[in-house]
């Protein structure tokens, strides 16, 4: 694979996707410390919000240690070069949250929908595109669930609503490099040349690096990862590892590798409540194609109702659940416990 000379933008997820394994309890102070260290390391873009995006504070997904507004305000004002993004899932957050995040100083808004439901992002992308200079990104989750043609049709819809960048998101960490290649290559061929293309991976099948490289080779220029892999499931593409690989392959990221490694080791790893690794349940997410943030919910319900978390996750995959259906997990566990006479 020859990627030499390619320029990409890496986007760190620790302070958003990393909120899932932290049950949204990262404090404002911790966020500021980490964000400043990332700024110092030259990471160009970081995401900051509740794990489920703006407005995610809820019984269903978990109440965070601070509000999105508090996190964003505190982080944005401390950044010298690093830009800050916020995630918004229509159905959870609204355009009111979007406006608030813009007022806090974000430079990028990412509007995320399930891969077949891009049309629910019209309201939000259209509004975002009206802000002068706001980097407007469409983000299609669980992209393994549909084929390349159908996926690209949805990406184009987001492009039409005003996204200047669209993402193929492997929320379940299910994809293998060939899946990424065919989707990204078709998207690159069909989207407008000026539209940027991104890939967001999860490491549930240990494919984070390989999939991200496949994405870059097929034409993606934005890659999500998180230092030390802090993210849902087995985490996101471990960013310091990806940066080292990019460096060896001659891909230009503009990030100081050793400083990034130090942030991962010195700040992120000590923050973890449990090791972010491919344990049996995280592997099941990738294997069965299940939304990565279901992991801890399945573990908790399994413990509460005396079930196997793997059984719960496999069933959630069989029922083709999508991102946001965390409420289904306790309901399903109750059904399974009843059926087993527990």
């Amino acid at each position: 694979m020859n990627l030499s000379g390619k320029k990409i933008t890496v986007h760190d997820m620790c302070l958003r996707d990393g909120m899932h394994p932290k049950q949204h309890q990262i404090t404002v102070e911790q966020m500021v410390t980490i964000a400043k260290a990332m700024d110092e390391a030259g990471i160009p873009l970081i995401e900051v919000t509740h794990g489920d995006g703006l407005g995610g504070a809820s019984v269903n997904y978990g109440f965070p240690a601070a509000s999105d507004e508090e996190y964003l305000t505190a982080v944005c004002r401390e950044m010298k070069n690093t830009k800050v993004s916020a995630l918004l899932l229509p159905g959870i957050g609204t355009v009111d949250h979007l406006k608030m995040a813009v007022d806090c100083g974000i430079s990028t808004i990412r509007v995320a929908t399930h891969c077949t439901e891009a049309d629910v992002s019209e309201q939000h992308l259209t509004m975002a595109a009206k802000y002068d200079g706001l980097d407007t990104v469409g983000f299609l989750m669980m992209a393994h669930m549909i084929g390349p043609e159908e996926l690209v049709a949805q990406l184009k819809m987001m492009e039409d609503f005003g996204a200047n960048c669209v993402y193929i998101t492997d929320s379940a960490g299910y994809m293998l490099p060939d899946h990424v290649t065919e989707r990204v290559a078709l998207a690159r061929a069909e989207l407008r040349p000026e539209t940027e293309l991104g890939f967001h991976g999860h490491h549930n099948m240990a494919m984070g690096i390989a999939n991200s490289l496949a994405a870059v080779e097929a034409g993606a220029n934005r890659i999500d990862g998180s230092l030390a892999g802090l993210g849902a499931g087995a985490g996101n593409t471990p960013l310091e590892v990806f940066l080292a690989v990019c460096d060896r392959m001659g891909v230009e990221t503009g990030v100081n590798l050793f400083k990034a490694m130090d942030v991962a080791e010195d700040l992120i790893v000590p923050l973890m409540d449990h090791p972010i690794r491919i344990d049996r349940d995280a592997l099941t997410l990738g294997y069965a194609g299940v939304y990565s943030s279901f992991l801890l919910f399945a573990k908790r319900s399994a413990e509460k109702y005396g079930l196997s978390s793997r059984d719960i996750l496999v069933e959630l995959g069989r029922r083709k659940t999508v991102g946001g259906q965390e409420d289904m997990i306790e309901d399903l566990a109750l059904d399974m416990a009843k059926a087993r006479g527990l």
Partner: protein, 302 residues
């Protein structure tokens, strides 16, 4: 009862047509007009076949004769954007407007919770909140009538096929209007609504999760009894309204898991979200009709 109140349905789409099928079985409502904007719409053709007067000229096409035709109740099954105009026009002709859009210009009505008050207030416009609101607010109210609820949150999961273009274009209206209904009708001090659209095939039946946080320790027995009673109330007009699990108690959290299967009149059974809207709209109209027929209420232009 032989006498019925005449009604018009504005919007001959899926909702309007399903509503028509239900209204034709009603002992209190007689649908006489179907109003559309597209001349060759299949919905208008079906209504004409059923013997209704039809127009493709919008509400304006019905206005000149609606009073002479005896229309006293109108249902708006179009969109929030045109609702206010529609409502003003039919109100001027002395007809009550039952709003199935999320426009929410009139007071909210969730039949088993506040239908009686809505009708007592003799409002000329009542709003049916949202599909998610109709499915979940009764459960919030079932908890809040037992003890104070500081926070009510609902998650409505609907099949992709049952989420129409109107809902998709303005999904924020769903979350805002439903959250407001959780507070104003459900009785929670603060409300939050989440909607998830799932494209699985075969389409999933609408499911709803209701989480309430009570101010004090929940009275488990009283809440459980209240929830079962409320489910029975909703089942009077939506037989497929089923308590799947719960109430589950965890500290001050009360969680209720529902499934809503529709009657399958015009809309498929999985679209319980749409069925509960049309059924609630009709039930509201029937209550108004009772008052009108009893001579307690004469709808008049404001």
């Amino acid at each position: 009862m032989s006498k019925k109140v005449k009604a018009a349905i504005i919007g001959p789409g899926n909702i309007g047509t399903d509503l028509l099928m239900k209204a034709m079985r009603s002992e209190l409502i007689e649908p006489v007009w179907m109003v559309g904007v597209v001349a060759d719409s299949p919905g208008l053709a079906r209504a004409a076949e059923a013997g209704l007067k039809t127009t493709a000229e919008g509400v304006d096409g019905m206005l000149p004769t609606m009073r002479a035709d005896g229309v006293q109740i109108c249902f708006d099954a179009t969109s929030a954007y045109v609702h206010a105009e529609n409502s003003r026009k039919v109100n001027e002709q002395g007809a009550v407007m039952i709003d199935l859009t999320p426009a929410a210009i009139g007071p909210f009505c969730v039949p088993p919770v506040n239908l009686a008050q809505a009708v007592d207030a003799k409002a000329m416009n009542v709003n049916m909140v949202t599909c998610g609101g109709q499915a979940t607010i009764p459960m919030v109210a079932a908890v809040s009538r037992v003890q104070a609820v500081s926070y009510g949150e609902i998650v409505a999961t609907v099949s992709s096929k049952s989420a129409g273009p109107g809902t998709r274009k303005n999904i924020d209206e769903f979350t805002r209007t439903t959250a407001s209904g959780i507070e104003k009708v459900g009785g929670a001090k603060s409300g939050k609504a989440i909607i998830v659209i799932n494209p699985a095939e075969p389409p999933l039946i609408m499911r709803d999760t209701i989480h309430c946080l009570t101010e004090d320790e929940p009275d488990q027995a009283a809440i459980t009894k209240s929830v079962h009673e409320m489910v029975a109330e909703v089942q009077k007009y939506v037989p497929g309204y089923v308590l799947k699990n719960g109430p589950v108690f965890d500290g001050k959290r009360v969680s209720i898991y529902m499934e809503v299967e529709g009657l399958g009149d015009f809309l498929p059974k999985y679209a319980g979200n749409l069925d509960i809207m049309t059924a609630a709209g009709l039930r509201t109209a029937e209550m108004y009709a009772q008052e009108i027929l009893a001579g307690n209420f004469v709808p008049t232009a404001a």
